[in-house]
C-alpha cells in the first residue's frame, strides 16, 4: 500500500490516456518518462521542440550521437519514419494546433487552468524554453505533478502565485494522489488513491474539488 504514487507511476497513469497514433510532446525531465509506458497496441508519435518527430528511446550509454537529442538535451534514437525539421516548422506544429497532447510539469495549477511552471520568482535566472508555446498550441494540455510541494503546500490552487506560463490552458492534472479535470473554472475530481478520503484529498488541495459523478479508484501498478 503506497500513500502516494511515485513520479514513475504518475507518468504511467498519464500514458494510459494517450490514444494510438497521437502526436505528443513531453516536457523536459519528469514528463519524459511518460514515453516509457505506452499501453500495448498503441503507438504515439513523439515530437521534440528541437526538430524531430517520431524519434525512438534513449540509446545505450556510450552510443549517443549528440546531434540526435531531445529538448532536454538527452540523446534519442531514430525510428523508421522519423523526420527532421527546423525550429520554425517545429513550432508551427506546436502553435498551429497539430499536437494532440502536451504533458508538462508544474509549480502551480489554478482551478481555471492557469499554469505556472517556468519561474519561481524574480530571484535566479529565468528560463522559459518552449513551455509558453506548448500550453497555447497543443489540443490538450495535461500536467503531471506531485500533489503538494516538498513543504506540503498545495500545488493545485485557486489562483497561481507564481508567474504564469499560460492562461486557462490546462485541462487535466495527474498528481501523486489523484486525477483531476479542469472544466468551467473548477477542479473536477475524477480518480483518487483508494486509501485516501475525499476530505483528506481536499485538505491537500488549494481550492475546492468538485464531484460531478463517481470518483474512480486511481490504481497504478508497482513500477
Amino acid at each position: 500500500m503506497t500513500d502516494k504514487l511515485t513520479p514513475t507511476q504518475i507518468a504511467w497513469r498519464a500514458a494510459q490516456d494517450i490514444a494510438d497514433g497521437a502526436y505528443v510532446n513531453l516536457g523536459i525531465g519528469f514528463p519524459e518518462m511518460v514515453a516509457r509506458f505506452q499501453p500495448p497496441g498503441r503507438e504515439a508519435i513523439f515530437h521534440t521542440e528541437n526538430g524531430i518527430l517520431g524519434f525512438g528511446e534513449a540509446p545505450p550509454a556510450g552510443q549517443e550521437d549528440w546531434d540526435l537529442i531531445n529538448a532536454g538535451k538527452k540523446a534519442v534514437t531514430l525510428k523508421p519514419g522519423t523526420a527532421f525539421f527546423h525550429h520554425a516548422d517545429s513550432f508551427a506544429m506546436v502553435r498551429g494546433g497539430h499536437l494532440d497532447v502536451a504533458i508538462l510539469g508544474a509549480y502551480e495549477v489554478a482551478e481555471n487552468g492557469d499554469l505556472a511552471n517556468w519561474s519561481t520568482g524574480p530571484k535566479g535566472v529565468p528560463a522559459v524554453g518552449g513551455a509558453m508555446d506548448l500550453v497555447h498550441g497543443a489540443k490538450r494540455v495535461a500536467v503531471i505533478t506531485e500533489h503538494v510541494t516538498k513543504d506540503g503546500k498545495p500545488k493545485l490552487v485557486k489562483a497561481c502565485s507564481l508567474p504564469l506560463t499560460g492562461v486557462a490552458c490546462v485541462t487535466r492534472v495527474y498528481t501523486s494522489l489523484a486525477v483531476i479535470d479542469i472544466e468551467g473554472g473548477r477542479f473536477l475530481l475524477r480518480e483518487k488513491l483508494p486509501s485516501l478520503t475525499v476530505a483528506a484529498l481536499q485538505a491537500l488541495t488549494g481550492s475546492e474539488l468538485h464531484l460531478t459523478g463517481p470518483v474512480a479508484d486511481l490504481i497504478v501498478p508497482e513500477l
Binding site: D20, G21, Y23, E43, I45, H47, L53, G54, L78, K79, P80, G81, T82, A83, F84, F85, A88, D89, F91, A92, M93, V94, R95, G96, G97, H98, L99, G137
Partner: protein, 244 residues
C-alpha cells in the same frame, strides 16, 4: 498508425458542401489532378460537394483539374493570385458572368497567409500591396518608418495535395518545382489528403529529406502514374470525358 487510403473516392468522401478546400499546385505542376477528378466524379454521382471555396494559386487551365471543377459549378468562391493561364476560358466566363467570386491575393501574401494558418499565426504584416487596391480596407501600420499591411491567416477544411513519395505515417516528398504551395497547404488544413506517386515503408524516406512531416497529413492515397495537367491540355483533354 496507417494513413493510407484505399481509393481516390475514399480520399475525397469527407468533403462537404460549403467547405474551404486548398488545392496544391502552381499551374499544372504539383496539381493533384486525380484527387480533383475524384471529387468531380462524386459531384456528378451525388450532387455534392458544391458551394466550395477553393484556394489555389491559379484558376485552372483548359478543361481538366481545377478548371473542370469550376466548369462543373462546384466552386462558389476562389482565392488565388493569378487567374490566368494558357486557356482560362472556364474561369473567365464564369467570373465575367458573376457566377464565381474571386479574392485576388498577391502570391507571396497568399503563401504566407497559408503558412500562418498552419503555424497558428492569426495575422502578420507585409510590405506587399501597400498603397494598392489589394490593400483596401486592411489595417496599415508603420514599423521603422515603413508602412506595412496587416494580413490574416488562411485555413481550410481540406487540403488536396500532390506529392512524390509518401509513407503510412504521412511523411511526404515532392518532385522539383511541384513542391510549391503543397507543403504549406498540408499545414493549414484540418484534413490533408495527399496523392503520392509511390507509397514507401516508414524509413523509405531519408529523415533529412522529409519535406512534409506526417503530423500535417491525415490521408495518403497512391496514384502511381499521375497525369500532368500540361500534357492533358496539349492533348485537349476534357474531364469528364463526353460520353459518345
Amino acid at each position: 498508425m496507417d494513413k493510407t487510403l484505399p481509393s481516390l473516392a475514399a480520399a475525397v468522401a469527407g468533403i462537404e458542401d460549403g467547405m474551404t478546400v486548398m488545392i496544391g499546385g502552381f499551374g499544372g505542376s504539383g496539381a493533384p489532378i486525380e484527387l480533383i477528378h475524384a471529387l468531380i466524379d462524386r459531384f456528378i454521382a451525388t450532387g455534392h460537394p458544391k458551394d466550395l471555396t477553393v484556394v489555389n494559386n491559379n484558376a485552372g487551365n483548359g478543361h481538366v483539374g481545377l478548371a473542370a471543377l469550376i466548369e462543373q459549378g462546384m466552386v462558389r468562391r476562389l482565392i488565388c493570385s493569378f487567374p490566368r493561364s494558357a486557356d482560362p476560358v472556364v474561369f473567365t466566363e464564369r467570373y465575367l458572368a458573376g457566377q464565381i467570386e474571386l479574392e485576388l491575393v498577391p502570391q507571396g501574401t497568399l503563401a504566407e497567409r497559408i503558412r500562418a494558418g498552419g503555424a497558428g499565426i492569426p495575422a502578420f504584416y507585409t510590405p506587399t500591396s501597400f498603397g494598392t487596391d489589394l490593400a483596401a480596407g486592411k489595417p496599415v501600420e508603420v514599423f521603422e518608418g515603413r508602412p506595412y499591411v496587416r494580413e490574416r491567416w488562411l485555413k481550410a477544411d481540406y487540403a488536396l495535395v500532390k506529392a512524390h513519395l509518401g509513407d503510412r505515417l504521412g511523411n511526404l516528398t515532392y518532385r522539383m518545382a511541384a513542391r510549391n504551395f503543397n507543403p504549406l497547404m498540408c499545414m493549414a488544413a484540418r484534413v490533408t489528403i495527399a496523392q503520392v506517386s509511390r507509397i514507401v515503408e516508414p524509413g523509405g524516406i531519408d529523415p533529412e529529406s522529409v519535406i512534409t512531416p506526417g503530423i500535417f497529413v491525415q490521408g495518403v492515397v497512391a496514384v502511381p502514374d499521375p497525369a500532368q495537367e500540361e500534357d492533358l491540355n496539349r492533348a485537349k483533354a476534357v474531364y469528364p470525358k463526353v460520353q459518345a
